[in-house]
């Protein structure tokens, strides 16, 4: 890994790889710090049916793999390292990973989001003992058993449909009366004889000695609490933005929910040279294709910034040696 780049991209979903592809193709030296687990949310998505250009659909990991190769083809360096810290030493950024420090003229933050938890007592303790957030990974443990999926979005529908192939029954529990999921996913769930749906219902407790044996649910309309026998509870209740890296350092403002604030339709944060894109700025759309588009915007904004500050950087090369 080199120690100085024009651009460092932090994150490796569709936004990060698209930004890297655009930057590298514009002949800008680019490093992608992909995190400990490259690929983002798409890596646990089995079939992506709504990414344009793939008329037969494409598997999430395959799509990510292609984006990664495309960025690498134009010369982006890709390293599966987690970023510990980003610091501003005007006009440079120092990006610290485990053990290394990289200097960059611009940083593109594409850190995405992490799965949200239900916040139940014993949820952490029983994670890996029946509580899961990945049907693709853990479905095999629940063959022929009863499982519960919590959530109302597309990812909850996908978890339920996947589990229905292996498990005896799937109960989909959702706190609202209607799903946020796309109609096509919701209608597949409706049509699946192994899946039953409980709307206006929340999970209130996890029961079992040292593995999940049942869960308590409360009907929000009547207040009635009942217990459902289940060996597995799959949580798909959305995601929280991973913005700590830039918010803690005071490099970017975040909203109440933790999304990085950007200026208008751009990727500009409050710190010149720091750009943000993808799920970490997007509480609304959160699609692979919108994240990719957002990565493109960040790359073009970063490219312009690099052009505008060339003189400044030429003058600061002495400063660079002084700070590192």
């Amino acid at each position: 890994m080199e120690t100085t780049y024009d651009a460092v991209v932090v994150g490796s979903g569709p936004a990060g790889y698209t930004a890297a592809l655009y930057l590298a193709r514009a002949d800008i030296s680019t490093l992608v710090l992909e995190g400990a687990t490259p690929g983002g949310c798409l890596m646990s998505t089995s079939d992506v049916e709504n990414y344009p250009g793939f008329d037969e659909g494409v598997r999430g990991p395959e799509l990510i793999g292609a984006m990664r190769r495309q960025a690498a083809r134009f010369g982006a360096d890709l390293v599966a390292r987690e970023v510990a810290r980003i610091e501003r030493h005007d006009p440079w950024f120092l990006v610290a990973t485990e053990g290394d420090v990289v200097r960059a003229r611009v940083v593109v933050v594409a850190t995405g989001s992490t799965p949200r938890r239900l916040g139940l007592a014993r949820e952490l303790e029983l994670t890996g003992r029946g509580v899961s957030t990945c049907a693709t990974c853990d479905g095999a443990f629940f063959v022929g058993q009863h499982v519960i999926v919590v959530g109302g979005g597309d990812s909850a529908m996908e978890e339920a449909l996947q589990l229905a192939r292996l498990s005896a029954t799937v109960t989909l529990v959702h706190r609202r009366s209607s799903f946020r999921a796309s109609p096509i996913m919701a209608s597949r769930v409706d049509a699946n004889p192994r899946i039953s749906v409980l709307t206006d219902t929340v999970v209130t407790a996890l029961n079992g000695e040292d593995v999940v044996e049942s869960v308590d649910v409360r009907d929000l309309r009547t207040g009635a609490v009942s217990t459902i026998a289940a060996a597995g509870l799959f949580v798909a209740v959305g995601h929280d933005p991973q913005s700590d890296l830039v918010s803690a350092a005071g490099l970017a403002e975040v909203d109440e929910a933790g999304y990085v604030r950007v200026r208008g339709r751009s990727s500009l944060t409050g710190t010149p040279g720091l750009f943000a894109c993808g799920d970490v700025i997007d509480p609304t759309y959160r699609q692979a294709v919108s994240a990719a588009g957002s990565g493109c915007v960040a790359a073009l904004d970063a490219q312009r910034h690099l052009q505008d500050t060339t003189v400044e950087f030429a003058a600061s090369s002495g400063v660079l040696h002084a700070i590192v």
Partner: protein
């Protein structure tokens, strides 16, 4: 997969008893990208650490996972002198893995 020697329920006792020092079993399933990520971390970290790692494909050999109540992958089960110390679940960074090994060594 796998990068480390595979282990089955039948072979576990022999291996864990014979090994002096820390032993870890990495439970994984095919198609589990989080497992691949953990494997990559282990491949990088383990050569410098006082631990012997084996892998268990849960899809092929559910018995071993069942014995340790592993119901989610990736999972890392640690042993020393034939005794089960701890099982941890989910993705881990390099720093997480090194810290775990140091703590349990």
């Amino acid at each position: 997969m796998p990068s480390f020697d595979p282990i089955t329920a039948a072979g576990l006792d022999a291996v864990v008893d014979a090994a002096s020092g820390l032993v870890a079993i990495d439970f994984w399933t095919p198609g589990c990208t989080r497992c691949q990520a953990l494997e990559a971390v282990l491949t990088e970290v383990v050569p410098d650490q006082p631990v012997v790692v084996f892998q268990s494909n849960v899809a092929e050999d559910p018995e071993l996972a069942a014995r340790y109540r592993v119901m989610s992958v990736p999972a890392l089960a640690f042993y020393r002198d034939g005794e089960h110390l701890r099982t941890v679940f989910g993705e881990k960074s390099r720093a997480d893995v090194v810290a775990l090994i140091e703590e349990l060594s």
